[in-house]
Every structure is written in structure tokens, then in C-alpha cells.
Symmetry: C2
Subunit: 331 residues, 2 copies
């Protein structure tokens, strides 16, 4: 029986990996299969876990591999996308120079696409998510760090050194005055806009807050472990002025990131994804207002600012989309 228009998408993260079979229309045929990555057990076991996750995903869809046209795998950087290699990612230590693409392709005898995880998420949103109606888009993923992906005319901007769309490290402030980023540099968007840095900024703002009484400040001390971006956004939604300042600043910083991609690739839509977008329309419109104020006037009039719609499924859906692209290109 000939392979059908079905693709396995596998999204490998530092803690877990997820896979599902996705149809050619971008619809997952089951909930994703989730397995622990356990990178500390070494890359051989890691590759075998990837294969097992893929096998279980096919089983979960009540299919066999004869029904699968291709496989897509997404991993965090550092990586060499063209060569299909995981290089030396901080989230997958101690893996090094892992030939993911060729291993998977050989294990299943199927065409295998390989992509950066944030690029895959961007492609997922472009294919069947928030950006499915546009021709070009940029995704900012807001989590522990800030990642990104750029899609123009159905093509992922991978970059010559697999660093296309490393949007967390676009600087929004000069190195001499900018905030310290986890990458070692200063002024990176990530040092302002990641969930981790939203919390850091909130602690700093608390320390010098002179506005009205703040519940956020009353309830959280500098060492409180439960103090998360989610909590800050909830207090802001409830009208706490200190929390509102932190959220407002976040919108401003994210808008500066959006302005940077508008002046470079000028996309039709800019999408933000990650936990913070649960805040919803009031936060989206805050970002939009700052883009209006600080973006290049002409593209700003028309650019669409949206929140991601696929949640944490974007990665494996996008990886499946990359698999589909691979096969279609070869036809």
C-alpha cells in the first residue's frame, strides 16, 4: 500500500519529547505521545527514545509506517540544520554531534526533515495556526528564554549557520546599558521579554516601587519560589499597579523586538507564543499599541500582531509540516 498524506512530527525538548501523526491538512490524528528525553543517559539512548516516540505516535494514530509519507524532527539549537546534526545544545547535555536526521531516516526508511524547534513552531503556526492566512510571518516564543522563527513564502529562514530567527538575541538596548542576558551578552530581547526576566524585572521594580500599595509586593518576597510571570499577569489583570507596570514594560520590550523584525524582513504578521499569551487580548493590544508608536510608519499601518493558536503542539505540528514540505518538494 502506498504511503498516504500523513506525517510524523517529533519535537524534542530538554525534558520531554512529543510526537504525533499529522495529516496533510495539519490535523493531528491523536494526542501527542510524550516521553522523557533524559539527555543525561547519553545520545544513543536519546536516539532510541526518539524512534520509540515515533513508533508509539504511529500506533496511537492506529496506523502503520506504510501509511506515513515522511517524518519531521525538531530539536533545540545549537545544530546544523543542513547537515541534520544536533551539535552541542545547552538543553541536551552531554549530547554532541548527533546525526539525528540520518539516524531517523535510516531507522524507518522514510524521508526525514530536520529543523530547529522554534522554526518548526513558527512553521506550525504558519501552516495551520494563527498565521495560516498570511504569506509571511515571524514568531516570538516566550518561555524560559525567547526563541523565534521566520517564514517567508512557505520558506523557513534557517540562516547560513542555522541561527536564522534567533530573535531572543536581537538587541533592543546597547551593550553598555542593556540588561545582562543568559547568553553572556547584554541588551538581548530575552533579557527583557522572557518569562524568567519578567519575574526578575518585577523583583527589581518591587525594590524601588513608590506607587500605590501593591498586593503583588505584599505577597511576594525576593525569595518566593511561586513568584512566576503567570502570577504577575494575573495581578496585572486584577489592576495591581506594580504588576501592570511590569506587564506594560514587557509589552514595550516585545514591541521593540517586533519593530526590529519589521525593519529587517517586514512580515505580514508577527505572532507571539508561550505562556504569557494566555493573558489574552488586553496584552496583545498593549504590544500592538507600542508597535504603532515605535514601528516604521508604513508597514506598521498594516502589520498584524497576533497570539499563537497551537500552544505547545506547534512544534510537532510544524515538524510534520516540514516533513510534508520535504516530500512535496521532491515530487
Amino acid at each position: 500500500m502506498a504511503a498516504q498524506d500523513n506525517y510524523v512530527g517529533l519535537d524534542v525538548g530538554g525534558t520531554t519529547m512529543k510526537a504525533a501523526v499529522v495529516t496533510g491538512a495539519g490535523r493531528p490524528l491523536s494526542k501527542p505521545v510524550v516521553m522523557d528525553t533524559n539527555p543525561e543517559r547519553g545520545q544513543d539512548e536519546g536516539l532510541e527514545t526518539m524512534c520509540e516516540t515515533i513508533r508509539r505516535a504511529v500506533a496511537a494514530a492506529n496506523l502503520t509506517f506504510t501509511n506515513i509519507a515522511a517524518i519531521g524532527v525538531a530539536t533545540p539549537g545549537l545544530m546544523d540544520i543542513k547537515a541534520g546534526l544536533i551539535l552541542d545544545p545547552p538543553n541536551l547535555k552531554p549530547w554532541k554531534n548527533v546525526p539525528v536526521r540520518d539516524h531517523i531516516a535510516k531507522a524507518f526508511g522514510l524521508p526525514t526533515a530536520y529543523q530547529n524547534d522554534a522554526n518548526a513552531a513558527a512553521y506550525g503556526e504558519f501552516w495551520v495556526g494563527a498565521a495560516s492566512d498570511v504569506k509571511s510571518m515571524v514568531l516570538f516564543t516566550l518561555g524560559t528564554g525567547v526563541g523565534g522563527g521566520i517564514i517567508i513564502d512557505d520558506k523557513i529562514i534557517e540562516g547560513e549557520h542555522s541561527h536564522g530567527g534567533e530573535l531572543g538575541h536581537v538587541r533592543i538596548a546597547m551593550p553598555d546599558t542593556g540588561r545582562q542576558c543568559g547568553c553572556g551578552a547584554r541588551g538581548c530581547l530575552e533579557a527583557y521579554g522572557s518569562a524568567t526576566n519578567v519575574v526578575k524585572r518585577a523583583r527589581e521594580d518591587m525594590a524601588c516601587w513608590r506607587g500605590p500599595a501593591s498586593k503583588l509586593r505584599d505577597y511576594y518576597t525576593a525569595t518566593d519560589e511561586d513568584f512566576t510571570a503567570k502570577v504577575i499577569f494575573r495581578y496585572a489583570a486584577d489592576g495591581d499597579e506594580l504588576a501592570m507596570k511590569v506587564v506594560d514594560d514587557t509589552a514595550y520590550y516585545l514591541a521593540l523586538g517586533a519593530c526590529a523584525v519589521m525593519a529587517t524582513v517586514d512580515p505580514e504578521m508577527i505572532v507571539f507564543g508561550g505562556g504569557m499569551v494566555a493573558a489574552g487580548e488586553w496584552f496583545r493590544s498593549k504590544i500592538g499599541a507600542y508597535v504603532n508608536r515605535y514601528g516604521l510608519p508604513f508597514p506598521t499601518k498594516s502589520v498584524k500582531i497576533a497570539f499563537a493558536s497551537l500552544g505547545s503542539d506547534a512544534g510537532f505540528i510544524g515538524a510534520a509540516g516540514c516533513a510534508r514540505m520535504l516530500v512535496q518538494r521532491k515530487q
Copy 2:
């Protein structure tokens, strides 16, 4: 006789326009024909001047239009590249909504490509200039303003609103602390790195200079009309410390622009063009040193920093290259 592998490239600027016939190998068949643009005489006369410049270019190459396969026209923005329209460019007042592409195509009965002037210059450098050996590149043009163009895999990143590669307006500093740009915003690269702003910064640095005696300072007063970026670079080359500071700062700012495009599109090569690159290798290596210091470590190891090689011919050569691309795509 069938049309041959020759293309007319026309580069329209606010003061003059230039055209020449360029072969399919990127070689101009004559020096460019130059005519005054005289935008103040209106757009109908402007369109006729474009046609006349094209006619003279074909004559200068000792050819007839039967030898020409296509025409490429580049103009400064604002524009609608897809629609082939000059919209409302500050350099071509009072022109508005000028249907350049269709007018030229109809006048000569030839396929006509239309492109932004900085994008065309980038394509020229990509096709047969400094970046002819690479697969992706970004050009920064340093003049009165700062322009740019991004080419990835033989494709120009035009942007959804014809604002792709508007690199002068990538911010390198935050709006609250950044220098005032001519566009009205603050913190744009252009407010630091254009020739105009090199001079402005030099005047500011003079006013508070506490270093050793400076000939630059001795010779130039705040109102001296001959005080240009070229002069500053010459003094810097001669070892004047004030001038060296201005040039060093310029390299730093340009490097921050380079870092921004590395984190977005991660090109194989970054090219700087315009008058300042006459300074040569010592200035290029200064920019390179700052990129090494402030760029994302992985792509920084391999990215090539180069100076443009086509000078002011890049625009019409690139426009001809766009014409060639148009015909090749249609074949």
C-alpha cells in the same frame, strides 16, 4: 532576431538616474548613461526621462532593443514593489503613485522588473560583486542615510509592505535614550551610522573632547561646510585621536546593526557599501572586531564582513540582475 542575454538596468535617484546595458554575466556594456531626475518637473516628465535614459543606454552599448531581453528599474521608497508603483518617496517629491513598471514595460514592449534601489544594489553585489561567492548576504548602504537589502538563496527579501531590508531603521538603542533619527524615531542605526550622523557625532565629540590636541578640532568649527565624513576618516587614518574615536564609534554602531541581522536572518556575508568604505581594510577590520565581540558566538565565527565592490554601479547592475531573474523565472 531573438532577444539576447542582455538587460537594461536603470537606477533612479532623487538627483540623477543612471542606466546601462548589462550582460547575463553581469558585465556593463558601457559606462552608465546619467540624466538629471528633476522630480520637481512632475512625474510624467520623470517617466519620459526614464525611457530616454534607457534608450540612450541601449544606444551607448551599440545595440537595439531587439538585443534586450528585459529591463530592470530601481527607485527609492516609499514604493509598492509588487504593484510596480512609486508611492510617495521623500526624494522624488511631488511624485505620487507612479506606475513605473507598467509604463516602462508598455513603452518598450519588454518584461520589466521593479525593485527598491537598496535592494537592487544588494542584488548587484550578490550577483557579481563582493558577495558573488556566497548564498546569502545583507548589504548596508552608508550615505546621507543608511539603507539595506537582504538576499537569501537568490531571492530578495522585499517584505510584505516593500520594507524588507530597511536596515537604517533597525534600532540599536532604546527610544528613550537613542539618538534622534531623520525618520522621527529615536535609536535607529541611521541616527548613528550615516555619513550625516558621523559628522554630527564628530561635532558633539569635539565640543567635549578632553583628549590630546586634535587637528580635526583645530581646523573645523561647528559651522564649517567642508566638514564631511570623508575628512574625519582621513584625519583618523593620520592618527588624530578625536577623529579615531569618531571612526571607532562608527564601527561599533555598524557592528551592532550587523549583529541585529545576524540574529534575524543569519547571512553568510554582511557587506557595507557607500563612501565610508573607501577607508579600506583598517575600517573593515574595526567593524569585524566589534562583530566578534557583540555578535552571537556561533555564527560570528564564520560570518564574512566585507566592503562592497561595485561602488555606485551596484544599483543599475542589480536592477539588470532583477530583470534577468524575471525572465529566467518565466522561462
